[in-house]
């Protein structure tokens, strides 16, 4: 696991939040989100992005002011066993974070790209890559982001270019016809697709977030948010009331382009590139899960990677023929799985810092107090012995 602790540049993080994170929100999420929020789905995404940004500011404050990493801070505040317990949940959390886009990609391949259902064996190479990537560490994975970003950028523009002409923006009206409740319900059920900053908690040692670096990340995330909001707006504008029936939005949003009548489905080139971006997200999430386990158990990373990837493989194989049961499970328990680890804990980090400072201050004072006492007793002993000597002389 030595490479896990290599540095990650702010440019890499900028590209990750701007181009990789939006890609995972383009599969099932638009249909699922608009099922509850209707044509106001994009407002829910805006709300979610703002909350995520607050989480980043909290993590940024922590990274800037803390002397220790996330795990050590948890250890010092909550004790080591509790910290290990939390990290264990983070390992499951990141495994689910990896599972969602990975499973969506598998389903898209299964339903859209192939004529008839085929052997699951064809997806096994993806799991081999996941296993390998879990051992290479974050540095290499974030460098891959740098390599693929021009392609992802072109693909995103390409899809937007093909989709826009078929959009009817009147479908976005009326705004908030049924109030804020459906939007909040939808947000609450889809937390698993957001909260991308959680990965930064594991990278506190690896990133150097000076002011410019934070600005870069915020800019990257803002760009990512803009692209995903645009995607949602476009999807609702194109499909209107039928948006919630369009399961694999990524493969559908651009298909009404007139270009295809002459050239065929050229958008599949762009879709394939966005697949690649999704895979990078899965690799980073899987690596995060393995890292959490490694911090807890301190055993061979290969074994831990094998456990995580094996669980993902078995999960995918079980649910590939009844996918909606797993998605409804994730949505039903979204608040319990994601809210504490994705929002509550990161938002409490400044409080942890303050408590940590208080504790350190108390310890320091105690230490100083002890030192003073010792000095005084030594002084007393010295004076007593001097007085004794004087009396003896007399």
């Amino acid at each position: 696991m030595k490479n896990l602790y290599s540095n990650i540049t702010n440019r890499q993080l900028f590209l990750y939040f701007a181009l990789v994170c939006p890609a995972i929100k383009m599969f099932i999420l638009p249909a699922s989100f608009t099922y509850y929020a209707g044509n106001d789905g994009y407002l829910g995404v805006i709300f979610q992005c703002v909350v995520d940004l607050l989480v980043f500011l909290s993590i940024y404050y922590f990274i800037k002011n803390a002397n220790a990493n996330f795990f050590d801070t948890l250890c010092s505040i909550l004790s080591k066993p509790v910290a290990k317990f939390i990290y264990f949940f983070y390992a499951i959390f990141f495994a689910i974070k990896c599972f969602i886009p990975l499973f969506e990609s598998i389903l898209l391949c299964h339903e859209v790209l192939y004529e008839s259902s085929h052997s699951f064996m064809y997806f096994i190479p993806i799991f081999l890559v996941l296993f390998y990537a879990s051992l290479t560490g974050f540095n290499g994975l974030f460098r891959v982001v740098e390599i693929v970003y021009p392609f992802v950028l072109i693909a995103s523009f390409g899809l937007a270019f093909l989709s826009f002409p078929s959009a009817n923006f009147e479908n976005l009206l009326p705004v908030m016809q049924f109030g804020a409740n459906p939007i909040l319900l939808s947000v609450g059920r889809h937390l698993g697709w957001f909260g991308d900053f959680a990965v930064l908690l594991l990278l506190t040692d690896n990133v150097d977030l000076k002011e410019k670096g934070a600005n870069k990340i915020i800019l990257g995330y803002a760009l990512g948010c803009f692209s995903i909001i645009l995607f949602f707006v476009c999807a609702i504008a194109i499909f209107g009331a039928t948006t919630n029936t369009q399961l694999f939005m990524l493969s559908k949003i651009s298909k009404y382009s007139v270009v295809f009548s002459d050239l065929g489905r050229i958008d599949f080139i762009f879709i394939a590139i966005l697949f690649l971006a999704t895979m990078i997200y899965c690799l980073i999430a899987c690596s995060s899960s393995v890292k959490c386990l490694h911090v807890i158990f301190k055993v061979d990373a290969k074994l831990l990677a094998l456990i995580v990837v094996g669980a993902l493989l078995i999960g995918s194989m079980i649910f590939v023929h009844k996918p909606f049961s797993i998605f409804s499970f994730i949505e039903d328990y979204s608040l319990y799985i994601f809210l504490p680890l994705q929002y509550i804990l990161p938002l409490l980090l400044p409080v942890f810092l303050a408590i940590g400072k208080e504790k350190r201050k108390g310890k320091l004072e105690n230490a100083i107090g002890k030192d003073n006492k010792e000095i005084n007793t030594q002084r007393e002993i010295k004076t007593l012995s001097l007085e004794g000597k004087k009396e003896a002389c007399k």
């Binding site: 004529e115 259902s117 085929h118 052997s119 009326p174 209107g240 009331a241 039928t242 298909k255 009548s261």
Partner: protein, 402 residues
Amino acid sequence: MIKSKKFIAIILVFAFVFGVFLINEYSLITADKIAIVVGLGIDKVEDEYLLSAQVVIPPSATKQENDKTNNTLLFSKGKTVAETVDKLFLGTGWYPKLNFCNIIVMSEEVAKEGVLNSLEYFLRSEKVMDSCILLIAKDCLSSTLLKASTPLDNVSSYTLQKILFEEGIQTSVIQTNIKDFYERILSGYVSNVVPTGSILEKSVDASEKDTQSALLGQYDLFDLTTSAIFNADKLQGFLDKNDTRVYNLVAEKSVETTLEFTDFNTDLNKDITYSLQIIKENKKIDYSLKNNVPTMTIDLEYKVKMIDSSYLEDEERANVVSLPLDQELLNSGEEKITKKFEHLFATIKNLNCDIFGVGKKLNAYSHKTWDEYINYDTFYNYPSKIDYQINLTLTTLKEDKP
């Protein structure tokens, strides 16, 4: 040691991936087993669906004599459309490739019963493009339309698609795809307009076998200039050629549309015929709830050009470059087009259809007032209460002025 371990790992991964490919279970069906379905027809016969599939087999590269694409019409019956699709290819052994099916034709009977009953399969399936266009076969079975062949194409569904998609003739025909149809139903406000297709009566006497015109007479020509209107997914009635064109003037771009006028009585007591082409349009449509009545006000201003007329005598015609267009003709034109609009409005009100989506617009732009107005018990009756107002102005280009 480490190097040899890596080498073994690479060999194992390679062997695994290679092995997976050697299993020969690619789920990719070879081209010689795929039947490319280019058009589907749905009819109802004795309470069962009759599915007609137009299948094309690409011509062989070595085949020289007849290089036209072969096409065949296959039939099957079933209680549901999904069953008919399954049955259709069980008998032939060819795998149905539905991705290239760009047109679905339905008979009037199926449309009256409710289009969604038969469309549901296509909406749920990922195998069919929901951009595929809908067509209602009028006065004939859908299979009759698919069987027909025109002088230029022997695959009828290609011809139908060309007519519906070709720029230039779009102002005379309607385009509706499955997705739009379904979206309008789900949105709950807009009635659907779907093109109807029929085969024109052969104008040439086929008994004249030796002449070229007789050869043309062996083929069919389609008429797609009329349309069917739906309330929810049920067929309510038809719009004739004029109504369809007038609908397009409002709903689509009208530039390059040609308007024909007959029986214009001149001062000399001579009836003339003339055609005006729209060069430029200025369209303003307003939706409001005036006095608690949903109102659609259409302000249209067309710049027109005369492109043909029987106005001039032959000797006069030879001396003019551009046909003159006087105010009298324009006024008469305005009057006649307005009457056509009024005819369309009366038709759709009678059929209780909101083909212009007045309800949807009012809900979108003045949601509160619309919500107060609409009575959800009689929701589907609101189209008959809509008040349509049309203000039309025809002006001419400077060079056409007398």
